[in-house]
């Protein structure tokens, strides 16, 4: 089984390298991370934290949008594209089971995303540290950011697989992926914000809201990075909701989601007739 998963992962990795996806994703990550680091360099002295901390805070906000976007862009075509090209039927007649096919493709795509995140955010972090200083705390915060951003990407990779298995065509899968991104990353927070405003500090705001929020992997990612670092929390000014939750809530959400999503993708893929 391992050799088959590995074989699929190797071929997938080759394709991601060949079609420039890896280079583009890394480039986009690096570009935005560097831009944000320099745009956010002003308040560092005022708050009394080093520049890397400020940079990590800005990059956390960036990664909430960018990691899911890149992941979905890569994942939406995974099954729908193979089916559309007519390569899926033949692949599925080989001894690799459908779970192994998914696992192999996921392994390659997570690796690619990990490389893009590490190089992209890492470069910006190094630049920030060189120009404005870094402490032990802020270096740990950067490492945590890179790992959790990759994890967040993995969540949206498997969610992209679900859409890719359900959609009738790659175009439909792309549309669904765009919708999914909008819901999880933008509309969900807007909706919650609206509810909190209407509730006006009532039961919902104090008890339910933090849990609903952390159930969204994108928010769990934000909360994890902010709650774990006082410096980052201070700079981003978003510590409030995070403090109402036990410290395990956000990591649990972000770590559970890839498994839930993979199970859903596996189920959707099982019903697909190539």
């Amino acid at each position: 089984m391992i050799t088959r998963v590995f074989a699929i992962a190797r071929a997938e990795m080759l394709i991601l390298r060949r079609n420039w996806w890896l280079v583009m994703a890394t480039g986009i990550m690096m570009l935005f991370a560097l831009a944000l680091t320099f745009a956010g360099s002003a308040p560092s002295g005022a708050l009394g934290v080093d520049m890397l901390t400020v940079s990590v805070a800005s990059m956390t906000t960036l990664a909430v949008y960018l990691a899911p976007l890149l992941a979905l862009m890569m994942a939406f075509d995974t099954i729908a594209g193979e089916r559309d090209r007519g390569t899926l039927a033949l692949l599925l007649t080989y001894p690799a089971g459908r779970g192994e096919v998914l696992l192999g493709k996921l392994a390659a795509q997570v690796t690619a995303l990990g490389i893009a995140t590490t190089l992209g955010l890492g470069t910006a972090g190094v630049v920030a540290a060189l120009s404005g200083g870094a402490g032990e705390q802020s270096v740990i915060a950067l490492a945590r950011l890179i790992v959790t951003a990759t994890l967040l990407g993995a969540v949206f990779l498997v969610l992209g697989f679900v859409l890719s298995a359900l959609a009738k065509s790659p175009a439909a899968a792309a549309g669904l992926a765009a919708g999914l991104w909008l819901v999880f990353v933008v509309l969900f927070d807007l909706g919650l914000l609206g509810a909190v405003v209407m509730d006006d500090g009532g039961f919902f705001t104090r008890v339910i809201f933090p849990w609903v929020m952390v159930a969204n992997p994108a928010d769990a990612f934000r909360v994890w990075n902010i709650a774990a670092s006082d410096g980052v929390a201070m700079v981003s000014g978003l510590g409030g909701a995070a403090q109402m939750l036990p410290s395990w809530a956000a990591p649990a959400s972000l770590l559970l989601w890839p498994f839930i999503g993979f199970g859903m993708a596996r189920a959707a893929f099982a019903r697909l007739e190539p």
Binding site: F6, A11, R18, T93, P95, P274
Partner: protein, 297 residues
């Protein structure tokens, strides 16, 4: 278990439409069976059911002793899809290496690609391959890992005449090593010469399944005898044999398999009046027309 593939009463509904209707079909190891039928008759659907890609609505299929789609069945089965396709950015060698790793055998990739005539192009991307080259790559993956059952869906489509001969040589090799081969095809003349048995589907129904000789006998299609007469004798021969004059010097008679020898003796008895006799038994094309139209010649 002496059959490589057993299909019993297999049916398939698509919505309310019955695409396949109670199909029975067996293929023995080393046997080459042609699966014929009009467009949309259900040939590809039947193959996908054997592969476990499409679920059955009724009946059962066993490959050796395994269910369609089970790990054992997938290990023992090779498939060449109709209009086969691969990932365009991989090279032929990379694609075949992937399949070889999935099949779990240590196949000699280069030798295989050489065997199907892709030796020169194996390190080019598949995007640059012609249709026939993709078809050859598809054939190469069939040869990985000594399958017990090979399902070939229109394997000669897109191949040039020489490549077709190569293909049938490869199919013969497969059959000789004990692989049961099921070939869906529209190329009747090729199939006629290259397979042991012929099954014909018509609108999801199996209307014929036998050797070419037996099918001819059952259909009772006539053999054509064309007699070339010596000058001036055509009229007399036509009168005596009850045949039809088709031009100044030739007469045609149609006879059954049973009366064929009698007719020949009669013609031989005419002595010098007959210059030559040409005998044409019913071809697969005639048989196909007969069975595909539902029993009318």
């Amino acid at each position: 278990m002496d059959k490589a593939l057993i299909i019993r009463a297999a049916s398939k509904y698509r919505g309310k439409v019955r695409v396949l209707n109670d199909i029975d079909l067996c293929v023995a190891p080393g046997e080459r069976v042609a699966l014929l039928g009009h467009n949309g008759a259900g040939k590809t659907t039947l193959m996908k059911m054997i592969l476990g890609l499409t679920p059955l609505s009724g009946g059962e299929i066993t490959i050796g002793a395994a269910r369609p789609g089970s790990a054992a069945a997938r290990r023992d089965t090779a498939f060449l899809p109709e209009s086969v396709n691969f990932h365009p950015t991989l090279t032929g060698r990379e694609q075949l290496t992937l399949f070889a790793r999935l099949a779990g055998g240590g196949a000699d990739i280069e030798a295989l690609l050489d065997r199907v005539g892709l030796g020169e192009a194996m390190d080019n991307r598949i995007a640059t391959y012609s249709k026939g080259m993709r078809q050859r790559l598809g054939l190469a993956q069939v040869l990985l890992g000594r399958p017990k059952l090979a399902l070939l869906d229109e394997p000669t489509s897109g191949l040039d005449p020489l490549s077709r001969q190569d293909l049938y040589a490869i199919i013969d090799e497969l059959a000789a090593q004990g692989t049961a081969v099921l070939i869906a095809s529209h190329a009747l003349t090729e199939v006629e010469a290259q397979t042991d048995r012929i099954a014909i589907l018509r609108q999801g129904l199996k209307v014929a399944d036998d050797t070419l000789a037996n099918l001819s006998r059952i259909a009772g299609l006539p053999t054509r005898l064309r007699i070339l007469a010596r000058s001036g004798q055509a009229e007399r021969i036509a009168d005596e044999t009850g045949g039809i004059r088709i031009n100044g010097t030739s007469v045609e008679i149609y006879c059954d398999a049973d009366t064929k020898m009698m007719e020949l003796r009669r013609i031989a008895a005419m002595g010098d009046a007959v210059a030559d006799v040409e005998m044409t038994p019913p071809r697969l094309e005639d048989l196909y027309r007969y069975y595909a139209k539902g029993g009318q010649a």
